[in-house]
Symmetry: C2
Subunit: 673 residues, 2 copies
């Protein structure tokens, strides 16, 4: 440890069998052969120093040479190192009592383990490991010079310089990404993407422990939604294929009502299932409501007035309230600007496009228009989402997840208009149902094919292209210098580094890849519910698509992409609200559709029928509320579990208070004061 | 203590200055002069024994003779007696940590005090005192005979006989009721009912500590609602009295929209205010969600599998789920039967009545019909509410409050139909707006007068009648025996015993008097919001009425009624939902009203106008949801307070865990296991 890159106060721990979890990619050092004389006297190799620093922090580092002289550091950590870091970070973690507290390695038995028996969840492990790596710093008393790889010059470090950040800035460290765990991944692959006959069955617990909560929540939702789709798919197929003779005209209203109520019931049951998942994976909801310090939050160590104070709306509370309302108004302004702007810009454009598309009829220019549109629409989406992101930046958010949610709402409007303007145009303006049906059909069918191809094919293609490039470079290298012939086959870590990351198509990689997947589901849900009356088969197509989607999405995550950075969320967040809004829109649009269907003279004047439909619409809206009431979001067994935990808390508190008297008193007084 | 009526293990405490809080009324002992020979040898006077028993339990008993030889026992308790009873009852109470635990007298400093500094809330004190009184029991080893007052014979008690229950059964104890605290009451009267210029200002904290949470919540709501009424009242008056010339026809839709959105905003802000009140009065919401043992709840001391177990839906959970759905279906069946039955029975009747009433025109038979109707309607209400109560009995409820809520929903339908059928008839069938207006006006105006008279006048009348009866009896007595002339003026406790109790008009005294008061407000809210378009002045009348209502209701509670039994609730419960439903109905009914107003040819065919109104209706429904989203129910300062408390919990738990190591470990292990 010549340079002494290490973390303060950390000692190396006895190495146990540890799996590498993070890869650090260092720049290729191809020129170090002929550039050796350029290295300053006494300058140490930067990568060597980094490895020493990582090892000094107790991490296990596996150094792999790439085919083109890049170096890959595979970093893992023994449990105790993670635990000590969690303690240092003051990570809050659920105890057996059901209350969170700062993790402490000595008290590790008091914390609730994961469903698979591990002490830390995937998210916690990753967070700690990343924090350890980022906090490696120089410990030397005098400035030291490190020689950077790839002829990138030298880096002078002084005491306290964060090594990884400095190396990254200089281009010596090019990437840091989470590594797949080969044995767990193989196990997952066997039961998940290739389980073609599994229907909607997925190993959710394994997905949770391998990918973290956010990805698991997405797949839980996808599976649950697909299972529920069976009902409208079967009903729709029966109504479509069985000839009901004189009753045939009743099919559209009947099916529309069935689908609309189905959507409401599905979402209510999903909330319930979500609560069950939270209980199963021990997600403490209270914690997730507010999990970072709020801007208006007072620091705890400030001399507080005590909990028992008279908590009327006093001075600071008033200030808080002002702050709160200012924030609310800003949010509203932003939302209005974003949604209004998008609507005003995009709606006329989409209208124009659909109009032109319709006017062109069978002309071949149609396809030119289609191609031009997809380009323009992409630009508009980009513009809109960047505006939304900029607006988002002006707001203060309680958490990263809340920030992402705010963006979800804004950008969904763009996609909604893009996708549904055509439907609305055909349904309510042109009123051509055969065209609407073919539009629906082509949309669903082409979407299904295109998406599944892009989701599986594009990552594979990207992967092979970058693999090929690496191989070509390697061969070019080989021709120059014959000595490196031994490093011919690419290592696993090098191949993973060529895989694409699981990030959203908007936001420049700042957001999670679940954004795109949920977007796809939400648009599909909209098609299924909003135009049910016009095309009963739509649910069947959605079902078939989703059954394929489960397998292709899981293949994408488990086989063709880098392991995603895990995130901890309590629910599907903003998407639930979007689905619920779509459910309400569906009630209105189906009723409107029925008006259009029965109004054959196109006069908008079918008074008795219209009245009946209006009453039906209001009854459906009423039924929606009643059904949501009928299905309680918290199942009895979760309620019983919470109650049990609450009683344990009470009795523990009682014991702890009445234990060593003076101490407990002082503690609570301290706490109360 | 000859008979030894006492509670096990209780010692009398040194008497401090205690206020009497409960009165026990014992039967008149008028005949004891001439019936003395009938008393068995060795039999002790029952009342003497009861007083001795109460005193042995540490209570302070003040014995007051009534004018007609009844005896009133005014019972109070020193703080420590209440505290010990709370400990015995295992009353859960909020600690400084924000977690409830069983109260313990020795740890009393660890519990959050009331806003007025007292250790126990009014509800808790009352609960404990009542429990002490009810648990007075015989301690003698051999059976003892007590002579009952009023020649009601003798009562033989053995060890363990509950004295009060036995005496009540024999008719020796005729009543037990909470006593007013004269000095606090005087203070309250000064700042509350007689503060005529106070507008909506009320001493809510004092009301809370004197009457308990439920009554305080009602008055908080009444005050808040009245304050909010100022806005539509002023807007309505302006629109009504200012001549807008050609814009006059825009008044109805404008005002309707204003009122509808006002209703939504008001309810959203009330939720927020409710949360603030909860924080101010330290109502722990979690506790109030489930505060009795659920039928499916496992006992805590059973060998549990530990919290850390894999909590998938296993055997017992499945059983719970079955139980839960059975319960849900029963609830739904009951609600459908109740609401459907009421609707089918009452709607035609009300229709018939309004039809006849209208058909009679100016004939004097109208008034006969009106009289007959009020009698019949009363009977129907009685029948309906008794059916609702019987249906309610078949269900299992988590708490007494939830049971009351279920009844509120069912009975509200009856009152809703009774009150609004006439309005609907005039508005949408007859379509005579001047008649609707006069109907609205007469209803609001007569209601206001009649209700304020009955609420204040009837209790006073009842009080004077029973006072008069007592005085007459006393005089009759006096004529017989001259010896009792000294007890001529009635004592305070005797006068209170003649006051009516604050109970609901339905349910035979089983429910709280807030039922009637909320019902009145809900019907008024319905009138104000549902027909806003037809009569802009309606809010002004409601405002004036409510300003009077605040004072008359408070006068009723503070001056003319017995002190009510206190109840602990977290919110206004079912009424909030009813108000919200009325808000939605108002959107629909106002739009319908506008259709009727603009449809002057009475053809139900105003296509472009109808379309506009339909769009407006849907926009209003949409705006309703957005507004409810815009106003967060938990204010920032409450959120900050919760967060602070949560952090204190965490650090306390951390300290307590890492304190005396082995002990803390064992405790948590015990808790977790």
């Amino acid at each position: 440890m010549a340079t002494g890159l290490a973390r303060f106060g950390e000692k190396p721990f006895a190495h146990e069998a540890v799996e590498p979890e993070i890869a650090i990619v260092c720049a290729a050092d191809r020129q170090n052969g002929n550039n050796y004389e350029m290295r300053r006297v006494g300058a140490e190799d930067a990568i060597d120093a980094l490895v020493q620093g990582l090892e000094a922090a107790g991490l296990k580092v596996d150094r792999v040479m790439g085919r083109n002289a890049e170096q890959f550091l595979k970093v893992g950590a023994p449990l105790e190192v993670i635990g000590r870091e969690a303690e240092r970070l003051k990570l809050t973690k659920l105890t057996n009592l059901g209350i969170d507290t700062h993790f402490s390695w000595d008290l590790r038995d008091s914390f609730v383990p994961q469903p698979d028996g591990a002490l830390f969840s995937r998210t916690e492990r990753y967070q700690c490991l990343e924090s350890i790596i980022e906090s490696i710093e120089a410990k030397t008393s005098s400035p030291t010079v490190l020689a950077l790889p790839g002829g990138k010059g030298h880096l002078e470090i002084t005491r306290g310089t964060k090594a990884v950040a400095a190396l990254r800035e200089k281009g010596a460290v090019t990437d840091i990404f989470p590594l797949h765990n080969e044995s767990q991944r193989q196990e997952l692959v066997r039961h998940w993407p290739f389980n073609f006959l599994g229907g909607t069955k997925q190993p959710l617990d394994d997905i949770y422990s391998y990918f973290g909560l956010k990805v698991a929540m997405y797949f839980a939702f996808l599976g649950y939604y697909t299972t529920w789709l069976v009902f409208p798919a079967v009903a729709g197929a029966l109504l479509h294929f069985v000839d009901l003779r004189s009753w045939n005209s009743l099919v559209p209203p009947l099916f529309a009502m069935v689908v609309v109520m189905w959507a409401v019931a599905f979402l209510a049951f999903w909330k319930r299932y979500n609560t069950e998942l939270q209980a199963r994976w021990e997600v403490n909801i209270e914690q997730d409501e507010v999990h970072t310090t709020q801007p208006w939050d007072e620091p705890t160590n400030e001399p507080s007035h005590g909990i028992a104070q008279r908590p009327a709306v006093d001075g600071p509370s008033r200030a808080l309230q002002r702050e709160e309302w200012k924030d609310r108004l800003l949010t509203m302004k932003n939302n209005l600007v974003a949604v209004g702007g998008i609507f005003l810009l995009q709606a006329p454009y989409e209208m124009l496009f659909v109009y032109c598309f319709h006017a062109l009829g069978g002309s071949p220019f149609k396809y030119v228009l289609l191609g031009a549109n997809s380009g323009i629409a992409g630009q508009i989406t980009k513009l809109g989402s960047s505006v939304a992101m900029r607006l988002n930046k002006t707001q203060t958010f309680v958490s990263k997840e809340q920030e992402a949610d705010a963006l979800v709402y804004k950008t969904f409007v763009i996609y909604f208009l893009q996708s549904f303007m055509g439907f609305f145009y055909y349904a309510f303006y042109i009123r051509d149902f055969s065209m609407l049906r073919s539009y629906l059909f082509s949309r669903l069918f082409t979407n299904a094919i295109i998406q599944n191809i892009t989701e599986v094919g594009v990552p594979i293609f990207t992967f092979y292209m970058s693999e090929r490039k690496a191989r070509q470079e390697e061969q070019a290298e080989k021709r120059e210098t014959k000595e490196k012939a031994s490093r011919s086959s690419a290592s696993r870590v090098e191949r993973e580094s060529h895989m694409p990351a699981y990030v959203a198509s908007i936001g420049g990689g700042a957001y999670d890849g679940t954004f795109d997947d949920f977007l796809e589901l939400a648009l599909q849900f909209g098609v299924v519910t909003m135009f049910a009356g016009a095309f009963p088969l739509v649910a069947l197509f959605a079902l078939v698509n989703n059954l394929a989607e489960i397998r292709s999405d899981s293949f994408k995550l488990a086989c063709t992409m880098r392991r995603p950075v895990p995130h901890r969320v309590a629910s599907i967040g903003a998407w639930l609200n979007i689905f619920q809004y779509l459910g309400v829109i569906a009630i209105v649009s189906n009723c409107l559709l029925l008006v259009v269907i029965y109004d054959e003279q196109k006069t908008w004047r079918i008074d008795p029928g219209l009245l009946v439909l209006l009453i039906v619409e209001h009854l459906l809206l009423l039924a929606r509320n009643s059904l949501a009431w009928f299905i309680p979001p918290v199942p009895a067994w979760v309620q019983a579990k919470r109650e049990r935990r609450r009683r344990i808390q009470q009795s523990y508190l009682h014991q702890s208070l009445s234990g060593p008297k003076d101490q407990a008193y002082e503690k609570l007084r301290l706490a109360g004061a």
